[in-house]
């Protein structure tokens, strides 16, 4: 690769990494921040490969852009689920939900007591 091409590519990759990192901090929604972190990890992985370190590049992309993004998205889904459950609990305990309450409890079979 010629000198100027390397310089231009390096500049674009680093500008992209800095821009996506700033987006991760200043985004409105949490999931936008998570995706911006994935983009930052991908840009830095690309930079590692351009600096002739493909082992580190593969590790950065697989851990920073794939695995940590997945874990964050699972945690956000769980937050949403917990919040929906809390709202349902409060609604059922209040007086507005007389038509939705039933008197049949959930049956507990014997296998519930095992660990």
């Amino acid at each position: 690769m010629s000198g100027t091409l390397v310089t231009v590519l390096n500049t674009f990759v680093i500008i992209g990494a800095v821009a996506s990192a700033i987006t991760a901090v200043h985004a409105e929604r949490l999931i936008s921040s998570v995706l911006a972190l994935a983009a930052t990890g991908s840009f830095i992985g690309l930079e590692f490969i351009m600096l002739q370190a493909p082992d580190v590049g593969i590790a950065e992309v697989s851990v920073g852009a794939i695995l940590s993004t997945i874990l964050y998205i699972i945690a956000l889904r769980k937050c949403r689920e917990v919040e929906r459950q809390m709202k349902t609990d409060e609604y059922l305990k209040s007086d507005l939900a007389d038509s939705d309450k039933t008197q049949t409890p959930v049956k507990k079979d014997a296998s519930d007591k095992k660990d």
């Binding site: 851990v63 949403r80 939900a97 309450k101 959930v106």
Partner: protein, 319 residues
């Protein structure tokens, strides 16, 4: 909220200005300083026995010395390999410990007592509970002892059935060819741990529980770690250093050395560990039998409208 957006804009501009100033000043200083490789003799590898043994008169920095003396000291196939598993085998062991610690911490928080979906019972007052919800049969018609499962789309099941062996083969190709091509244990382990996600997307949480057992995965991960330590200690018992590289099969085409054994141990360790981690996180989600039956979503909608949204921590639009 005009004041809040103004504060955020000021914050954005200030952070951009700081990054710009530091970047420009740093680049100017780097351009004016001496280069890294200046051709003079560096003496950092004097932590081994005798620097006079090196023929590094025309060496170009530390990396050149390691490349030149690699064959003499480790007889490994690949320079990166030899640095990771022989010169710095102790650091790689520490990296494996990081993974074990992370999984132990996740287990402490997310370990469930039983295998039941706890989303069925809602509410603590006696008598005011939601009815157990009806779910669609898995595989259209076959009920197993009263348990019914949510059906996933057929296209996900078909694609997962085709892609699972290819993913495993690709991931383990990267692990086993760590000496010849880029990759190695860590990278290939993370790639082969993607089968957990494939099984989860195609067959749901029930399919995941039938396929994997997180206790067994954690045990096998620990056994891989012990194997790494034993291979590293074999050099100590022979009178050499920790993580010494001994070549025990060297035909013309086939070559096996201890760095390869350590690499495979790390690959298995990472694969089992990340499978265990993903299974625990996905079990915490527990939305396989969650809300989107008609009754349940109706109640959830009414609840969302009636409860004051500002009392709760997260707004749904944010997530």
């Amino acid at each position: 909220m005009n004041r809040k957006t103004r504060i955020r804009k000021i914050e954005l501009f200030v952070s951009l200005a700081v990054i710009l100033i530091i970047g420009v000043v740093g680049a100017a200083r780097m351009a004016g300083s001496a280069p890294t490789y200046d051709g003079s003799r560096t003496d950092v590898v004097g932590l081994y026995e005798n620097p006079a043994n090196y023929d590094t008169a025309d060496a170009d920095g530390v990396s050149d010395i390691i490349v030149k003396e690699n064959n003499q000291y480790t007889a490994a196939l690949n320079t990166v390999y030899s640095v990771t598993f022989n010169f710095r085998g102790y650091d790689t062991l520490g990296e494996s410990f990081i993974l074990v610690g992370a999984i132990a911490g996740t287990m402490a928080i997310l370990r469930k007592k039983g295998n039941k979906a706890s989303a069925q019972a809602v509410g603590t007052d006696a008598g005011t509970v939601v009815k157990p919800m009806k779910v669609v049969d898995y595989r259209g018609g076959a009920k197993k002892k009263g348990k019914t499962y949510r059906q996933k789309p057929v296209i996900m099941q078909s694609c997962a059935n085709i892609l699972l062996p290819f993913t495993l083969v690709y991931g383990w190709y990267i692990v086993l060819h760590g000496a010849m091509s880029p990759g190695g244990g860590f990278q290939g382990g993370v790639i082969s741990a993607g089968i957990v996600l494939l099984v989860y997307l195609a067959f749901g949480l029930t399919g995941l529980r039938k396929t994997f057992h997180p206790g067994f995965l954690h045990s096998s991960e620990t056994i891989a770690e012990i194997f790494y330590i034993c291979v590293g200690l074999a050099g100590v018992f022979a009178g050499m250093n920790f993580c010494f590289n001994f070549v025990f099969i060297n035909n013309g085409t086939f070559r096996e050395e201890s760095a390869m054994l350590m690499n495979d141990a790390v690959g298995y360790h990472v694969c089992a560990g990340i499978c265990c981690l993903l299974i625990m996180m996905l079990e915490a989600l527990d939305i396989d039998m969650g809300a989107s039956d008609e009754e349940e979503s109706g109640i959830a909608k009414k609840a969302a409208l009636s409860v004051n949204a500002q009392e709760l921590t997260y707004r749904e639009a944010d997530i």
